[in-house]
Symmetry: C2
């Protein structure tokens, strides 16, 4: 049985708009004890995701937020410290893939929210990124939501982000011509030179629309959409008849408090949906966890062979999560954000 | 061979916004002559549809408009006056279901755009309404675009209109609880008392949102959308997780020239698509003509037994089409608009 202290990041305030370090507090409590059939997990890596912002509340979402005072929910990688469950041995590496292991040093579990993972195949951080819920989200969008037309043009928004870069690279492997949209010349260069995309457009550039037109000379057949309203209407004139659009995120809308500003872009979007026979489908990856084994079988070899790369932005120490997490929403970071806490 | 004069309504100006009588001109030319394998059709009924406005140009559509000086394209019912085609006999009633028979007294055809229809089963005007492209549009939306969940709540916008009332009544027959949205107390009364819908809400009423909330106590599972941006965002708070939305028209956007006015409703719509796992599908009925026989087999008995009713607004005489057609866009009419021209 463990008598370690357990540091927990708890929610103490609901942000309006972007989250702030002061929305969190770190408390220290005795580590929990594994009961019958349970294991004690010591978290080593904590995944920081846009979904965590939604759970903080005031996020324009129907998703119920966590309570003030509760430990932040989140995906982790950890190691089994103590086991009363025959399926797990001390020293096993596991992912807490339902988020219940959370932003803390220790968690107990009956094992139903844990998967044993092998650091000999890919680095453990990959089980939070390209082989975690991040990669699963991208893969579900491309394989379960969209009706793929390999050979056509797939456009991915926020393509330098964690989910976007996974979607773009999985799209390449599935046979699409892939075009990425990202902010700034360094990110668009990365998409082409490092990730091997076919073209890219910089939404922060003055000539974004011209860059986009050059990037999709035969139009867009499929969109993997991560961003929300800010770029969507600009893409539509380039969308081909019958195109399919998966909405796997609305990053730009999660923290927006002034969503009603600017001209009304809804009429032109509905017109495009009607006149161009578009299908637009939103999806919540948590309803597709049953496909996790199929996803891993499909994508693990490509990650192991480095055909799918990811940029990971590591944070050092649980104590630095409150100051690092808000940076995800200011666009400064790129790629997957993971805190090393052990 | 015929030597009748052929009155034709030609397009002489492209409207900005609502069409005007002066956009049309009536010319008189010699009737065409049926060649080898062709028939001569004398039109008796002409269907006036929102699609005609799109064909006039300046309609925010990718659909190519007709040329200035060309005869207006449109659906008709007619009678065979002369036949050089063994599939048709003089006196047969036919529908010109591709629109090629047009706004004129006479047309020649090789028969590929004609279907023989039987006035003993339903009135001939029904072949332009509930059993015409109007009804086909509603039926395609409900059977080929939506993945129906019978027993749930179907909401139909513009439910007193030609397509909307067909969608609402076909929805009832398919087992939905059906709620109609229409403008004004007379139309909402008609939806409930005459068409047998379960509830209705008046979008012109000050308490529209309260009426809507009362009409859908268990939320909305399916929307048959005809209108466009003006009502769409108001519906979304009542939409259930996983709901499906067919966009079969954007009536309010066809003639709108100030579409960018007002607050930007796109962010909240994309958020709802993502957070509520919505599927939004636009469709163009012209791509579903292959299902016409299946549609007729499915719906004809219900129309013949008066389980599907329609309100028809008859115009007397081809010469009155130019002044009557614009009224479709001012919301004064309700139901299907048909001109008797013989």
């Amino acid at each position: 049985m463990s008598s370690h202290p357990n540091r927990q990041i708890i929610l103490v305030a609901r942000p309006n708009g972007d989250p702030k370090p002061s929305d969190f507090e770190i408390v220290e409590r005795p580590a929990p004890v594994a009961g019958a059939g349970q294991v004690l997990v010591r978290n080593t890596l904590v995944s920081l995701d846009p979904f965590n912002r939604i759970l903080m509340g005031n996020a324009n979402s129907d998703q119920a937020p966590i309570e003030l005072g509760d430990t932040m929910f989140g995906f982790t990688v950890g190691i089994i410290e103590h086991s009363n469950n025959a399926a797990f041995s001390v020293g096993d590496h596991v992912t807490g893939f339902l988020g219940t292991t959370g932003w803390q040093d220790f968690a107990v579990s009956d094992g139903s929210d844990l998967r044993i993972v092998d650091p000999a195949i890919v680095p453990l951080s990959s089980y939070l990124g390209t082989l975690g819920v991040t990669g699963l989200t991208a893969w579900v969008g491309l394989t379960k939501i969209l009706d793929p037309k390999p050979g056509g043009t797939l456009l991915v928004t926020a393509a330098a982000g964690a989910v976007g870069s996974a979607a773009a690279q999985i799209g390449k492997l599935r046979g699409y011509r892939v075009v990425g949209v990202a902010g700034g010349p360094e990110k668009t260069r990365h998409l082409i030179d490092d990730l091997g995309l076919d073209a890219a457009a910089d939404y922060k550039a003055d000539d974004f629309e011209a860059q986009l037109a050059r990037a999709v000379p035969e139009g867009i057949d499929t969109i993997y959409e991560n961003v929300g309203a800010s770029q969507f209407p600009i893409l539509l004139p380039h969308v081909n008849i019958g195109a399919q659009i998966a909405v796997g995120g609305v990053m730009s809308q999660i923290t927006t408090t002034d969503g009603l500003a600017g001209p009304n872009r809804l009429p032109e979007v509905l017109r495009a949906i009607f006149y161009k026979d578009l299908t637009v489908r939103g999806f919540n990856v948590t309803k597709f966890y049953e496909f996790y084994p199929e996803f891993l079988a499909d994508v693990t070899p490509a990650v192991a062979e480095k055909k799918i790369l990811s940029t990971t932005h590591f944070i050092d120490g649980l104590e630095n999560i409150p100051s690092a997490f808000p940076e995800m929403f200011t666009g400064r970071g790129a790629g997957k954000m993971i805190a090393k806490i052990a």
